[in-house]
Subunit: 443 residues, 2 copies
């Protein structure tokens, strides 16, 4: 034994939950999984580890800096890194297995990702992403861009998150407008990235930064007039006015109309020309999602169309569209806001107490077996403690029922069923025990 124990302090940015939170997180993950499957997405899991060159294929400098690379004693891990998202891995996976998959390929992926950024409030270095993507071979119909917000809307409804807006835009729109007003193509990406910081840094700072890039005051005014468009018609008119390419705005128009036909509530889908997405691989439609009154939470679900990502891995085209729910952060914020039931600390519903372990152990085990066979999670209290201590264990763990049985009960083929939540107890026969418990659990 060491004299100075090794530190067990939490490592910043690597969240872990106590049992009640983990149970709640698992319920939420199951709900998302179920919705994804109802829409015909199949689960896929890729290795946590990719070749560094795959991870760095595309994604932007910021993403590259955040990659955790691996090494070990035999250097068996050199040139490998942990994935920082699930979009690059699925593009690699689809390319690798294209002859074995059926297209359009609809997959979901719920896995941890890692980003070696400096830990700060609400920023995690290890967190869950829950992704869906639809990936085509050579082409992918624009209708799938419209399907995505519809699905996400239902996922969030099921999670009880009703007050939110999905912001939508198209990467080509702002790029075309900038080009049309005389911004050179090489600068366009930088300007868009600056605009992306608008919600955090405010207009004044953003204007300064854009001016520093060499745009004139007149250009800046045009840009901000354009960004403030609240309808596609208005945006399109502004683009026609400057003779901009209309491919992007026409796509956006079609995606929004189709999403509404597919069942997306109109008022939850918001045109927002200021969104740009941090990752470099998006080429068309882009989505971000904000909870009403929680702008400071940032986007809780983001994504878009990526038509060229797979081109780094193949000479064939595998265009895709999808979104990712940043689950860990969303979950943490929901918990902190009291939006999640975190009262359960165990799956156990029944504790079979031991009055006389020596004499009745196999009877206690028989009761537990009956309950488990009926699908009721059950523990047997094995330690030689007083009944009071046994009931205390059940209460403190939040176990709903305790079963008490000794000579009297076994002689009459009954058990005493104690409802620790309702603070009641009743004698039930061995035969009716399961039904009684199930009825009370469902009530």
């Amino acid at each position: 034994m060491k004299v100075n124990p090794i530190s067990v302090n939490p490592i910043s940015g690597f969240p872990e939950w106590l049992p009640n939170l983990k149970l709640a997180e698992q319920r939420i993950i199951n709900s998302i999984r179920e919705q994804y499957e109802l829409f015909g997405f199949t689960p896929i899991e890729t290795a946590a580890v990719e070749r560094m060159e795959v991870l760095k294929a595309k994604g932007g400098e910021d993403a590259h800096k955040q990659i955790f690379s691996l090494s070990n004693a035999d250097d068996a891990g050199s040139s490998l890194g942990l994935h920082f998202d699930l979009t690059v891995p699925i593009s690699r996976y689809v390319t690798q297995h294209c002859e074995e998959l059926i297209f359009p390929f609809r997959r979901y992926q719920i896995q941890k990702v890692w980003r070696g950024e400096k830990a700060q409030k609400g920023r995690f270095r290890e967190f869950y992403q829950c992704d869906i993507d639809i990936i085509g071979r050579n082409i992918l119909d624009l209708i799938h861009d419209a399907e995505i917000p519809v699905i996400i809307n239902l996922v969030f409804e099921k999670l009880g998150l009703n007050g939110y807006k999905i912001h939508i835009s198209n990467r080509k729109v702002l790029a075309a407008f900038l080009l049309a007003i005389g911004v050179i193509e090489a600068e366009s990406d930088n300007i868009i990235k600056i605009i992306d910081t608008l919600p955090n840094d405010g207009k004044e700072t953003v204007v300064e930064r854009i001016l520093a890039k060499g745009l004139t005051d007149a250009q800046v005014t045009k840009v901000f007039d354009f960004l403030s468009c609240i309808s596609i018609e208005q945006a399109k008119q502004s683009m026609v006015d400057v003779n901009a390419d209309l491919v992007g705005i026409d796509e956006l128009d079609q995606v929004v109309s189709n999403a509404i036909i597919l069942g997306m509530p109109k008022e939850k889908l918001i045109l927002d020309l200021t969104i740009a997405r941090g990752l470099d691989y998006y080429t068309g439609t882009i989505y971000e999602t904000f909870l009403d009154g929680k702008k400071d939470w940032g986007s809780i679900c983001s994504g878009g169309r990526f038509d060229t990502l797979a081109s780094y891995f193949s000479t064939h085209k595998f265009p895709g569209v999808g979104v990712s729910i940043g689950l860990t952060r969303l979950f943490k914020m929901m918990v902190d806001s009291g939006m999640v039931d975190v009262s359960e600390t165990t799956p156990t519903r029944v504790l079979v107490t031991c009055q006389d372990r020596q004499k009745y152990l196999s009877s206690y085990l028989g009761l537990a077996k009956t309950l488990r066979t009926a699908g009721v999670p059950t523990e047997v209290y094995f330690n030689h403690d007083s009944l009071r201590e046994q009931i205390g264990y059940a209460s403190s763990k939040g176990i709903r029922f305790a079963i008490i049985a000794g000579d009297t009960e076994f002689d009459n083929d009954t058990v005493m069923l104690k409802d620790l939540l309702r603070k009641s107890q009743e004698q039930v026969t061995g035969d009716s025990m399961v039904c009684t418990i199930k009825r009370k659990l469902e009530a």
Copy 2:
């Protein structure tokens, strides 16, 4: 676009599955999870990443060499590594949260672990472990050592793995015997590790290695006589004969008797004094599990009692006992042996085809919504392809049903339901569609 695409070849030791295998693996994980919860184990997830000093606290040189350490551009990951098992992390976690947990703490953990060993057949560098452990505060009743094989037995029964044996021993037994026949304590661990290689390397090699450690021929004979004991009585007699400490054999006796009382089939629990477990943290009972006729698969589920592991993190004692199913390897071997149904490639059960997307899109979506609300995973075929191509898509993906509807059907409030498995079709009314499909799926 790059001229030379980045390699997408698999990285050896990091397994990934096609959709049908991932669906099968998910079914197996769900089955294990369900059994663990029925026995009152609560899910816990620890970060994939631990401090290197935590990972190296105990585990043995072999484990340390296999740890993948992390680094990134900001060196934010230095002194961090990926966990190589889930036992060290849970010991750390329990120590960290001991004031917030209720003991005995029953938790399960189903997560990936990473080992940077040289990849070889059947050895993975990233794989799932499915662990259960029961951890006490200060003490943990020996009855829990008996509970473990009982639970594992039921888990394996549910997976359809009936032909297997759980081998059981106790670390103290062989150590006490070796000490009693004159092997110095410092050598004892090494001798035990050599004996652990018996199933792989054979008796001749093992004898040579033991002799090289300085044991006499007479001692070696005694050791092999002892290892061949097939009952606890016989082993105990041999220990009495050499005046060995009997604590370990008495524990083993009690654990085996209690396991049988708790419902463990006698013939599946085998005394095996040759097992020793690779990891250094076990202090008492140890388990390994072998499938009948598949000795070459190695142990598919191993574990034991660890009374001192937490002492590296705390001055308090948190003794534990548990096992780990090495799921990825087991799953791969089950698939290779045809023991797993891998026929499904999607959760989708119904494809709603589009005869006239322009005219009836919202009706098709209505049908899909009805089915999804009833819990039936459903896709709508959105692309403008011929009905033949749409049905071809459904067949190739293994989707059971296709729904076809056009003017005739919608005029009569019916749909054509095509059963692609049974190769039949029938007109059903809109109202009976869900029931008909559900009945056929359950048949």
